[in-house]
């Protein structure tokens, strides 16, 4: 009887743990829009997440800068806009908003213009970088066209809405 009770408690704890892991994974996943959740944008690859200790496997050489700013993890995925423009989205989850600001401020504003997105943002012909709370988001396009900037902006806005939830 006691043994059955212990077993039930263990099963309950295991289920609880499993649910919390899924929820956490789901939260990270949901920051990155699925295909067509932002008009014209298709998600073309799986989401990859690198925890702080493994960040060097993704951005070796830049990882130290993010670690010093308190990065917790980065989630990244590839996208395509109307079968024409390829892009990569990186969402860095920092320990706090100061960490996101530290990274944002460390990058010079050459050939970029400030835009209204998140807490602070800048746009170039092929990229958007913005921060919102403890998140730093970088979207990089690999082709330059007349539509690229507007398309990047729409994707950025779609992601910002998700960060706000």
């Amino acid at each position: 009887m006691i043994a059955r009770g212990v077993l039930l408690v263990m099963l309950g704890v295991a289920l609880l743990l499993d649910t919390s892991c899924k929820r956490q994974a789901g939260t990270e996943q949901s920051l990155l829009p699925a295909s067509n959740q932002v008009a014209g944008w298709a998600k073309t690859g799986d989401t990859r997440t690198f925890e702080a200790a493994d960040l060097w496997k993704y951005i070796d050489g830049e990882a130290e800068r993010y670690l010093k700013a308190g990065v917790q993890r980065v989630s990244t995925a590839d996208y395509k806009f109307q079968n024409e423009v390829d892009a990569t989205v990186d969402i860095f989850t920092m320990g706090n908003a100061e960490g996101a600001e530290k990274i944002f401020k460390s990058e010079p504003a050459a050939d970029v213009k400030p835009i209204q997105l998140g807490d602070k943002a800048r746009l170039s012909s092929q990229s958007i970088v913005f921060r919102k709370g403890a998140y730093l988001v970088r979207i990089v396009a690999y082709e330059e066209s007349a539509e690229t900037q507007q398309a990047l902006l729409q994707l950025g806005q779609g992601i910002e809405l998700r960060l706000a939830k």
Partner: protein
């Protein structure tokens, strides 16, 4: 016609070299220049080949123009008229040649596919069997992500990351470095052709030839303190690297002056160039100056001013390493 072309090209090269020597000496003390006239310095040649029309009217590099650009660079480096002759000076049939590319920067700032194809084409014309060529980096997924197609068997050029074969169990050491080397380097090639990308680097200042060797070891993340100095120089002293390295072909088709090594379009420019040299230190020094010039044009601080000057280049040239020269008087920059 062919001899005329030969004479013209050689004359041109002589002028370039003389010009470079004068430029190199002019910024220095006159006394040194006088001494050199009596005992000419042995110079490391760094060729910079450019093609403003490398991409035509589009954004993708044109394969035929890339092959032509590579030929011009190699002919200038080896002072030969026939492109195939230059490769025969570099490799012999039966040798196993590894092309160490750089796929770390992701799409946009990794070793150019058309360049790698052009190198493979010329290697095969020089008598290297396709299956004796391996294009490699640390990770197959990273390579696939930037467009390389994996191939691990058959009579074709091999292409895969170290993740497919692992690192050696044995730790090799030199100075500050203790690492396990990729089995691709130790077991699959006896000639190494380094194919890095001209990039700014957040930690090291710049990354080209010498720093690209971080991709051949299991623990590069351990060697980023102090601007990667002296780690980069020590790493390049490891016998498997030092003895196998024959040539660096640095991809400067798209280069990066800030925010590297990852691709950030706002800090990159289409340089449409290749840099080739057999002296990795001279190549890195020359590339560093190119990045500094671009930073100045963009109104950015020098790397020294940004507290990340690439001091590892001087370490690689010092008496303990002698991996090449960082002395501009001993570097002949040839632009073609």
């Amino acid at each position: 016609m062919s001899s005329l072309r030969r004479a013209n090209r050689r004359d041109f090269l002589k002028k370039c070299l003389t010009g470079a020597a004068v430029l190199g000496a002019s910024g220095r003390m006159g006394l040194i220049a006088t001494a050199e006239e009596e005992a000419p310095l042995t110079k490391s040649r760094v060729v910079i080949a450019r093609d403003a029309m490398l991409r035509g009217a589009g954004t993708t590099v044109d394969s035929r123009r890339m092959l032509s650009l590579l030929d011009r660079a190699m002919q200038a480096l080896f002072d030969r008229d026939d492109p195939s002759e230059t490769w025969k000076k570099l490799v012999r049939p039966g040798e196993m040649v590894g092309l160490k590319v750089n796929a770390l920067g992701g799409r946009g700032l990794s070793s150019n596919l058309q360049l790698v194809e052009a190198i493979c084409e010329r290697l095969q014309e020089a008598g290297i069997k396709a299956s004796d060529i391996v294009v490699w980096d640390r990770d197959s997924d990273e390579m696939e992500h930037v467009g390389f197609h994996m191939a691990t068997s058959g009579n074709r050029v091999q292409c895969f990351g170290t993740d497919r074969v692992d690192y050696e169990q044995e730790l090799v050491t030199h100075g500050s470095v203790g690492s396990r080397l990729s089995k691709i380097l130790t077991q699959r090639c006896n000639v190494l052709i380094n194919v890095p990308v001209l990039k700014d680097h957040d930690g090291a200042g710049v990354t080209m030839a010498l720093k690209n060797m971080y991709g051949v070891i299991h623990n590069p993340n351990k060697y980023h303190p102090n601007g990667c100095n002296p780690y980069i120089a020590d790493l390049n002293m490891l016998p498997d690297i030092r003895t196998k390295m024959r040539l660096t072909i640095c991809d400067a088709t798209t280069a990066c002056f800030e925010g590297g090594p990852g691709y950030k379009p706002e800090y990159s420019w289409k340089s449409n160039a290749l840099m080739v040299s057999q002296d990795p230190v001279a190549l890195d020094y020359t590339g560093w100056q190119i990045i500094e010039r671009r930073r100045a044009e963009k109104g950015l601080k020098t790397l020294e001013g940004d507290k990340r000057a690439p001091h590892y280049i001087a370490t690689a040239a010092d008496a303990q390493h002698r991996l090449g020269t960082n002395d501009p008087r001993r570097i002949a920059v040839v632009e073609v």
